[in-house]
Symmetry: C2
Subunit: 234 residues, 2 copies
């Protein structure tokens, strides 16, 4: 789901493939589930099985970052959670700015999944004067003119774009101008960013295409001749 | 972003790795951009470069499904678009049902990216009687009791869950009961589905973790010692 323009996270000029970083997130979620269920340890086999990866894949992914397992024990869940959060950078809080307070923006302000992982939208921005000063899900809405001041005060390094397609590039330019280092773009349009700013584009139709592929090819996609444990699996 | 529970699209029991299907979507988007820019042909090299994959990766991915290139010409964009849409199942329209008409639901009803790829939400469902009969972005809101009738009338095979976490499993059960074959789940919770129903879970924090990883590891992730053209790259 990375946007090809701008420097995509984990792009070929970085050391760690994007797919590996993506799997780290999946391992983290599964470890968090296990801890919630009272489990203290797990194995690459167990972690892989529930996610549909081989144990070798799990070990190879983690080996990019160090040695985390113990002979005869496996992984200590809490310890591996801390390690992965440190790798992903979510051992710290990430205050974020959101541009665009339409339906999507409001939905994202109420999205519980962000805070659970250390991401917090601390300020929202819109160009509609009627929205100024309102507070949505505890987050204040400002005019875009206030972006430089609010960003500096709150040490905001990540931004979310939730404006219509036609306004997305201007929103991105504003975020870049105030020094934001990473942008999550929900607008269904390609935006151009300077080399040093990371961009992840969310294209929700891609998720649906995974579904339509699976439903449309049911049965016919079950051929035994194709690789079953491809490295590409994620 | 597949949910580990239920039968994930492209899971190990299928022939085509999920990552390959994901890349097909990216190739399709890029081809659509090229056509919009007036291009008639392209190459694996060009398609790969703009997306950050090697030309070998592009050829390998497409080879799962057939032979699409012409010697001395490369790929004909229109033809490859048609072929990929057929593979992804988006050469047909997919009428969809959405359960949950809160902020997220409203945002999804207005999301332009779905229709562009052949997905159309034809009916929305909610349990709040105040929402019944309203029309949002041209889509009628019904009570969940009408799900069997509306689903049958509109030949709906895919469903979207946009309810709060606590209501997600019940929403999924309702969709399964009326014969929906694939579910896109936006609720930040794991839901269980019968084996024959495909599930894709959208966890937006995973996208943010890609960003925080890239921003937090800037510089340090640039080591030349790691593989640059790993098969795992996507």
């Amino acid at each position: 789901m990375s946007d090809p323009k701008g420097k995509a996270a984990g792009s070929p000029d970085g050391a760690v493939p994007k797919a590996v970083v993506n799997r780290l997130s999946l391992y983290l979620r599964e470890l968090q589930h296990l801890v919630r269920d009272g489990r203290e340890t797990t194995s690459s086999n167990q972690l892989g099985r529930v996610l549909g990866f081989t144990d070798a894949q799990v070990r190879k992914d983690l080996a990019y970052f160090g040695h985390f397992g113990y002979p005869g024990i496996g992984y200590r869940c809490d310890e591996l959670i801390r390690a992965i959060r440190k790798i992903l950078g979510t051992n710290q809080q990430w205050p974020m700015a959101m541009v665009g307070v339409g339906n999507l923006g409001r939905a994202l302000l109420g999205y519980k999944g962000f805070q659970q992982q250390g991401f917090r939208i601390v300020a929202a921005f819109d160009s509609d004067p009627h929205k100024m000063g309102s507070v949505i899900e505890g987050v204040q809405v400002y005019h875009l003119d206030s972006l430089p001041e609010i960003t500096a005060t709150n040490r905001i390094r990540l931004g979310i774009i939730a404006v219509p397609a036609a306004a997305a590039q201007a929103a991105a330019d504003s975020l870049v101008a105030v020094g934001v280092e990473g942008i999550l773009n929900f607008a269904p349009v390609t935006i151009a960013l300077p080399e040093h700013v990371n961009l992840v584009g969310v294209d929700l139709a891609i998720e649906l295409e995974q579904l339509s592929f699976a439903v449309a090819n049911r049965g016919s996609a079950k051929s035994e001749s194709a690789p079953k444990h491809s490295n590409e699996m994620d």
